[in-house]
């Protein structure tokens, strides 16, 4: 085997579309995609649990619980509106990423704020929905079906809430001119994933009887 002489890194200049990582992909982006892949397993588990328990009433002899199921209380027109709001937030997020790539910081800030506001609206809708369900007597521990429903949709809501906090942080960093385009792109990946998960939850939990 012949020895290969390594070129000193100091003398190497990277052309515009080559990255200084062994994969050619930036580490934050790779890390985010790996995290999102693992999150598929988390949400898959919770969706499966809901599917398993969705038709199971709580008033089984020997077990306490309400016979009410979340599916009996769904307000599809309202949830459709919140789904539309989240879909719209995906559009504003991708426009923010495009603005960041173009180095148009003012538009990027505008789209980031719009995304955060739409995310907040979605969360408000979820809080309203949960409050309505609770008012009708369906609490977290009412029965296994309710627990599965609240855990699934609540964890998704927590993801949205974290996303909104990150968006607000991004706006602050952008105002200080310390935000780079890659951070916006990685944040965008997270936000779109939250939207993708809702696409699945909306179809499987809300629309399929």
């Amino acid at each position: 085997m012949t020895d290969v002489a390594l070129e000193p890194m100091d003398d190497v200049e990277f052309p515009d579309d080559v990255h200084a990582t062994s994969t050619g992909i930036s580490n934050p982006k790779l890390a985010m995609w790996t995290y999102l892949a693992s999150d598929c397993l988390l949400f898959g588990g919770l969706i499966s649990t809901y599917l398993l328990y969705r038709n199971r009433p709580g008033n089984i002899p020997g077990l306490s619980g309400s016979s009410l199921r979340a599916s009996e209380l769904f307000n599809i027109p309202f949830t459709s509106m919140t789904s539309f709001v989240l879909l719209m937030s995906s559009l504003t997020m991708v426009l923010a990423v495009n603005s960041a790539i173009r180095k148009d910081v003012d538009r990027m800030r505008l789209w980031l704020v719009a995304t955060a506001v739409l995310g907040g609206l979605f969360l408000g809708g979820q809080v309203y929905e949960f409050t309505e369900f609770y008012r009708y007597g369906l609490g977290f521990t009412s029965n296994v079906s309710a627990s599965a429903f609240y855990t699934l949709t609540g964890l998704h809501g927590a993801h949205v809430a974290v996303g909104v906090l990150m968006l607000i942080s991004a706006v602050v960093y952008a105002a200080r001119r310390t935000l780079n385009a890659e951070a916006v792109e990685v944040l965008g990946l997270y936000w779109h994933f939250v939207d993708i998960v809702w696409v699945v939850i909306f179809a499987i939990v809300y629309l399929i009887p």
Binding site: H19, L36, A37, E185
Partner: protein, 147 residues
Amino acid sequence: MSATIDVDDDSPVHPGEHHDHGPSDATYFKVFWVLVAITALEVSTYFWDVWFGESSWSLAVPLLILLMVVKFVLIASMFMHLRFDSKLLTRIFYFGLITACIVYVVALAVMNIFTDNGNPWFNDPPPEVTPSAVVTGETSNMGGMGG
């Protein structure tokens, strides 16, 4: 206003990654309207039993799953740039997704969710239990997940 984003030139990631390589804003708007149309079609299935009768559900359920997959792929490939980024990212993401699908479909199948009633898609409530059955201990497997 002529504001620009500061690029961290000391980053190990070369700033050249962020060049104009994705679709234009107009393309994103087109994708968005397609997604809105698909969502509207999805929501319409909720009213199909009123419009077309109960039997329409046999068509609605597969259609909903198909539309869900189309929306998923559209968002992942266009909004998340999987179509334009390295194939490695696509492999990583879909590996996680497909693994999750396989694991949970197998787990649900083991729990008889697809087979324990006339409806192939979902499980059903546990069987009716009479007080006498409770007394004689016939409900010992009531907590079982198969229904």
